[in-house]
């Protein structure tokens, strides 16, 4: 081997060793920097895709649009009234909880985000949303829609984030089957990159009676995903060698996602002291 080639090989190996010794924080920083650098191109490609689909979509009728708009306004008014009632109930609930010294569950805030595009990579199921670290989003934050859980955030750029979908093998959720106490870990199948692949609820007890169509919800025990998020519905149950496994159809249709919500779990406030009898009103 020529001296120059040998030198190049040595430098290559040295660079490789340096890369392999990066810690998690450095790797995340590099990933965020690269995503941030490429974000103008990701935005442009999404805009082009949208323009193309708009151009190919059938022309909309203005009268129809007007009718839809009016209906939406009525719906909005109705929802505002419901929200007012909900807020009143919430306040009343909080007061009552305070009175009995109930331990407050961790509150969370939701950030609405637009799905920019589905990522086409080698073996990962992910998509990109238009909110990032500068919008108050953190890594491993749950991403939901009104239907159920979508996945969790991964790499973050200032105004962009990668979301690992629930269908990816690396996204695991502690889950329970509706109407039972049967718990397991819900995960996707390896390299299942179809639009709506099946999920697997593993590590369950064997020979349990689970009805097809039963809902599967997050337990919240892992601390990453809040409890009671709909994950999917049971298709069938299979007995494996040492445990049972339910095949689940995801609740969310990942091919039609437009808007999602990123949940930021907040640190629970310390439970207030229950009112002492001396301070209680007669």
């Amino acid at each position: 081997m020529k001296k120059l080639n040998l030198l190049a090989l040595l430098l290559f190996v040295a660079g490789l060793v340096a890369v392999f010794t990066f810690d998690t924080a450095t790797t995340r920083q590099i990933q965020a920097r690269v995503l941030s650098l490429l974000s103008p191109f990701i935005h442009s490609s999404a805009a082009m895709e949208q323009a193309a689909s708009t151009a190919l979509a059938p022309q909309v009728n203005v009268t129809e649009l007007k009718r839809d708009y009016d209906e939406q306004r009525i719906q909005l008014e109705r929802l505002r009234i419901i929200q007012q009632k909900f807020n009143q109930s919430n306040e009343e609930n909080a007061t009552l909880r305070q009175l009995i010294g109930f331990k407050q569950s961790a509150p969370f805030k939701m950030t609405a985000a637009k799905v920019i595009r589905r990522s086409s990579s080698t073996w990962w199921n992910s998509l990109i949303i238009d909110k990032g670290s500068m919008d108050g989003i953190g890594t491993d934050s749950p991403v939901i829609t009104s239907v159920g859980l979508v996945g969790k955030t991964s790499t973050l750029a200032p105004h962009m984030a990668k979301v690992i979908l629930l269908t990816d093998e690396t996204c695991r959720v502690s889950a329970v089957v509706e109407g039972t106490k049967e718990q397991g870990i819900l995960m996707g199948e390896r390299a299942a990159l179809e639009v709506r692949p099946e999920l697997h609820l593993r590590f369950m007890n064997r020979n349990v009676n689970i009805n097809a169509g039963a809902g599967v919800y997050s337990t919240g025990e892992g601390g990453v995903f809040p409890a009671d998020l709909l994950l999917g519905r049971v298709k069938r149950f299979e007995n494996r060698e040492i445990s049972g496994e339910a095949i689940i159809e995801p609740a969310v249709d990942f091919s039609t996602l437009d808007y999602v919500f990123v949940i930021e779990m907040q640190v629970a406030a310390p439970a207030p002291e229950p009112p002492s009898s001396a301070n209680a009103k007669p």
């Binding site: 290559f12 490789l16 998690t24 995340r28 590099i30 690396t170 995960m187 892992g222």
Partner: protein
């Protein structure tokens, strides 16, 4: 010597163009991996040292852009086995290590160096086939390493359809990349040196 810096610039450009290439829903979101195809094609044209530089850049940016976020190292996943935060945070579902693509590209690039004489003579058949082979081996190696890290060997049908479609798309794009490299070599009067012999590359 304009060929090498322009190759690096073109490689960086392919990462930008990659963002505009959609995936095929019917084939498990298979797509054309343009930076990868460009690297395999360029590694036929470039000398060994330059090939290693291109492999490093391609692997580094590829992992930075496409690997899922790296999880914190967690312990005790097996103790909680079912309901712990460890599992939800990704313990037990290890992803590929950051930097692995650099190794794979370095090895496959070295393999591609073996067909440099054909490229020099302007023969495209074998180089195009080799780009396909290298793309397939790269995808298969990634999949096998994921399988090794996570256990349970499984090959669903979709894996093969994705790998084959990705490979075919790479082979479709490869001739265009080779022609681009030929033109670049002609414009920059790039000469290929191989096994001590000196040839003047004139694009034929």
């Amino acid at each position: 010597m304009l060929f090498h810096p322009i190759s690096i610039i073109l490689l960086l450009l392919t990462f930008m163009v990659q963002e505009f290439i959609p995936g095929l829903e019917i084939a498990q979101f298979a797509t054309l991996f343009l930076p990868v195809v460009f690297f395999f094609s360029a590694s036929v044209a470039a000398p060994f040292g330059m090939m290693l530089i291109l492999a490093f850049i391609t692997g580094f940016i590829w992992d930075a852009r496409y690997l899922p976020g790296v999880n914190e190292v967690l312990t005790g996943a097996e103790d909680v086995f079912g309901t712990g935060a460890d599992l939800e945070l990704g313990a037990g579902s290890r992803s590929l290590p950051f930097g692995l693509s650099i190794v794979l590209f370095g090895m496959l690039g070295t393999l591609m160096q073996g067909i440099r004489p054909l490229f020099k003579r302007g023969r495209l058949e074998l180089p195009v086939l080799m780009v396909g082979v290298a793309t397939f081996v790269w995808l298969l190696a990634q999949y096998l390493i994921i399988t090794f890290l996570r256990g349970s060997l499984q090959f669903p049908g979709g894996v093969w359809s994705k790998m084959i479609t990705d490979t075919l798309l790479a082979m479709l794009a490869a001739p265009l990349i080779f022609l681009l490299l030929y033109s670049l070599a002609r414009v920059s009067s790039y000469e290929i040196k191989y096994e001590g012999l000196r040839y003047r590359f004139d694009g034929r």
